[in-house]
Amino acid sequence: MRSRTKGAIAVLLVISAMLALPSAQSLPAGISGVQQSGCNCHGAVPSDSVVASIDGLPESYNYSETYNITVSFQGGPSQEGNVNQGGFHLWASQGSLGVNDATAQLYNENEVGHTEAGNDQVAWTLTWTAPATDTNVDFILHVNSVNGNADGAGGGTSGDMWNKLTITLGGPVEVLEAADPFVVLGVLIIVSATLLAFTLVFVFYRKDPEAFDWDNFAPWLADWLTSTDHKKIGTLYFIAGLFFLGVGGIMAMIIRIQLSVPGNDFLTQEQYNQFFTLHGTTMIFLAAMPMINGFANWMIPLQLGAADLALPRINAMSFWLQPFAALLIFTGVFSGHGADTGWTGYAPYVVSEGAHYGTTMWAAGQIMLVASSTLTGINFLTTMAVMRAPGMGWMQMPLFSWSVLIANVMLFLSIPAFGVGLIQVYLDRVIGTAFYDIAAGGDPLLWSHLFWYFGHPEVYVVIVPSFGIISEVIATSSRRSVFGYRSMVYALAGIGVVAFIVYGHHMFTSGMSPTLRFVTMLTTMLVAVPTGIKIFNWLMTMHGGSLVYRTHTLWALGFLITFTLGGISGMFFPSIAMDTHLHESYFVVAHFHYVLVGGTVFGFFAGIYYWWPKATGKMLSEKLGVLHFLTAFVSYNALFWPMHRLGVWGMTRRHHTYFVTTEEALGSLPMEAAGWNMFITVSGFIFFFSNFIMVFNMIVSSVRGEDAPDDPWGGWSFEWMTSSPPPNHTLYKLNDGSWGLPTLEDANEHIANEPGWLSSWFQRLMVTDQETGETGEASH
């Protein structure tokens, strides 16, 4: 119990450090805008003895009216008779400033300062023309009080003092102070986390209302924190994954608010940059990957007929690295210093001082995620290699298991490159190594290669498990065995192989050599072949079957539509002459959301509806499920389909705003782009909220769902052989009525237990314990 308290204190320490540290960074020499740094102030700190004032400003301005204002100060070392007496710098967020005489000069319409001639006075008169819109106008005035020793021995500024004045002016119509998006994000995340915590406590309460006290709750909670059981860890993965899916969604909604109208100023550039960076990182690494691991943790041992994963404690390690990594990744975001590099984090920006402080922690957090993924890869590959039930050869593994196998092979062969790249970035930013220091000869493209060598397999890693889920769902729902099992496996393996040779298409416009670009164009086109095989096999599975419409069936069919569309739009990129236009446009955004949301997430939804009864022993409501599917499917397509057109028009991704115009010459977006963006935003909100139907469905099902039978859908694989939910130490109901670990039979002719020629050859290389005996030291 004491150690738990220590743990809690350590967590609090980390959190408070996360919040405190970045804000300490921002002053006094940290990142600052025009307003703060525009004044070349004398002295290091402002002095209270200098009092600045602006006279002549109204309480609230009238549209476009010009006001005469006087800027002045009192106090400090300034006194009459000094060679120089003072200077000022005034910045206005809106409207335009102007000067009356030679004592002041205009830098631009937002900024004005004194001239050489205006150096020996303490008051200056200026004009300010109010803007023509309703807005709050900020004025920031810096003044120097000067003792006039500019030519003296002590240097020009010694003994001088300065101070600052900030005034906010209201418009003719009162404008509400805009909400700080960071506050919005923070509040939403805290609210979701609190709701999540309440839900968990409620679930605990529902389990046994009698035992609802701390003495029972503490061991229950400790059990969740320390468990090495694959089912519990799978559930934890799901909770984390769904939570971060929500967080990423909130960020997407904030981004969409900003983009809903042209020239919007809901988010500043810096805020927008942080939000799209964290949206990408969160969705890929903290939402999609944990959900995949959630499915894999739950279903791989069950499908293989094993008791648990091969390395249960390593499995717990893989999970717990993730929430702590998430804390690091989000470091600084609430104080406005979060990572702002894009999820690709291109060098040398990622190691430049221009990239926010949070970028260091963003890299650190991802290093932990790399460690987590590596451990996961080792664990699942080992499990699938060694723990298949007797009788289950490689070619009798259920397709979901195959998809996880391929995904993990890809992941764990590619992610070390990313890990090394991140360590390089982390070391560059922390101890000052020079991997991406251009002046020292560093190569920005090295990062791109390391990143995309991982990054492209990674996007297949998140889609391939969905392929597995869809294969299971379509076959079961059609009451058929999946069409072309073997070609499905070969297609998966083919995707796993081409994943490593196509990454160059992310770098078509990066100055890579034309020969390499051409080779990549060929290999990228090749991706269509295995993917096409899978789509046609799924379609053929339905042939001659008898499709039962359940929620997961609907999601699987929806997946077929959206994924096919996403696949087709993907074919436009390898054509390089088209890609040079489409690259970095909204066409890309549309494409990868079609495959990552319409593919991956729809697959997850199908999987959740499919396996929920098995995992919880409760049925989900079909009515709510269908409602979820209909609203989400329609709004999803309305959300992403128009983006294709925006991309072709030339709307650029990662731009915090865009402009529309009727002037063809100007080359900005056409007028209707504004309407489409608003449409997209509205659809986005509908899509976001529609997913809460599923959350609601889950809660309703946990509280008062019907009990689920062992095999509600009629699947064949081992997970349906155990009870719903499976017993704590996984065992299966064998044919003779007893409980134990199962053996697979094969309805086909050939004998499953005989290893193939490759396996036999490989097995001859292995030295088993029986053979070693005393001279066993020679066995490595």
Binding site: G7, T228, A371, V420, L427, A434, G441, L450
Partner: protein, 373 residues
């Protein structure tokens, strides 16, 4: 908890007769420790500049939390095989039938480790081949006295310059190779069924201890080579360019932030002392320039940050693997001293040995690439 009769502690020691470990605090705590460590390290330094003492204690908190979690982990594992109960699940699926699961997992782990070093070597090769070598630049004469040129100075240029400079690296190579042998001997004696238990205990402990010692020696020599240097007895000075010590790389100025490091053309000192015989080829442009007096003394400043970075990070990553091995060996030696290794669980030594051979093998690649070439 679910199964009423069986309450394994999440803090260890574990009752292995029930099979795989059940609950454990150590994954949770270890992850937290890693996060605290990475966070506080990133807060303590920025671009190599120390940011103040504020977050320094937190670094040690992080390391402490990590160590604590490792202790928890080991406390659970220490009992493994100590009282005869061994939980060593075997593979059921082809092609690994009857192989220990842990062995397969170790090979899987080594596969991903290979990718780590492959990436580091790719980085090295990219820069080594892409940035002109300092020696080539020096000899081309295309540089200006006093202005740093960006070029690649392989550490091997310094290290391979004399037998004394290369000594730590060379000794290390043999230390690692011998340690690979001693770990196998430890396994051999642990597996021997026909010897006295006490003899086995002593033999295994000694061999593991020797391995541990050699690993410590490796890191010590590394510190000497990087930071400490080593004084030489006087009669050896003449064989070391006349220097009284083996200078560390640090003392040579071979640093990650070295943007104006003086290229050591080992011929420079030599040139001054033996003006009639220096190693600059007569046909080279530099030779002509020195003859004409354009590069008097031949002192070329170089920005070698990238060279130093690739060297320290790659050999440092290898060093971190050795350190990991030392931590593991400490535990194993202690366990062996308690008589913890019997023929039943001797395979644990084998699986550590796999990792250790891998670390050795990587060194066999690192040494020629970074020290000799």
């Amino acid at each position: 908890m679910s199964d009423g009769e069986h309450h394994p502690s999440a803090w260890g020691p574990h009752d292995w007769s029930h099979g795989a470990p059940h609950n454990s605090w150590s994954p949770f705590i270890l992850s937290m420790g890693v996060a605290i460590f990475l966070f506080s390290l990133g807060a303590a330094y920025e671009w190599g500049e120390f940011q103040g003492w504020g977050s320094l204690p937190l670094i040690f908190v992080g390391l402490g939390v990590i160590s604590f979690s490792l202790l928890v982990w080991w406390r659970q594992d220490m009992s493994f095989g100590m009282h005869g109960e061994v939980f060593e699940p075997k593979s059921t699926g082809t092609p690994f039938q009857n192989i220990d699961i842990r062995k397969v997992a170790m090979w899987m782990f080594l596969m991903s480790e290979m990718m780590v070093f492959t990436s580091l070597f790719s980085t090295y090769m990219r820069y080594r081949l892409g940035i002109p070598n300092c020696k080539t630049v020096f000899h081309s004469g295309e540089w200006v006295e006093g202005t740093a040129v960006t070029c690649f100075e392989p550490a091997g240029h310094l290290i391979a310059s004399s037998w004394f400079h290369i000594a730590p690296g060379a000794i290390n190579t043999f230390a690692l190779i011998i340690s690979s042998f001693t770990i196998v001997q430890a396994l051999r004696y642990a597996k021997k069924k026909d010897i006295d238990e006490d003899v086995r205990r002593r033999k295994v402990t000694r061999y593991l201890g020797t391995t541990w010692f050699l690993a410590i020696l490796f890191l010590t020599l590394k510190m000497i080579e990087w930071f400490l240097g080593f004084p030489l007895p006087e009669f050896l000075h003449e064989f070391n360019h006349g220097d009284s010590e083996i200078k560390s790389l640090y003392a040579e100025g071979y640093l990650i932030n070295a943007d104006s490091y003086e290229h050591k053309a080992f011929d420079t000192d030599y040139i001054e002392k033996h003006p009639e015989d220096y190693s600059i080829p007569e046909e080279s442009a530099l030779y002509a320039m020195m003859e004409a007096g354009t590069h008097p003394g031949g002192k070329m400043m170089a920005n070698i940050q990238v060279s130093a970075t690739t060297f320290y990070v790659t050999t440092g990553t290898h060093g971190a693997h050795v350190l990991g091995g030392i931590i593991g060996l400490t535990y194993m030696t202690l366990k062996a001293a308690k008589g913890g290794y019997t023929p039943d669980n001797a395979v644990s030594i084998e699986y550590f040995g796999l990792y250790w051979h891998f670390v050795d093998l990587v060194w066999v690649l690192v040494f020629p690439f970074f020290y000799l070439y």
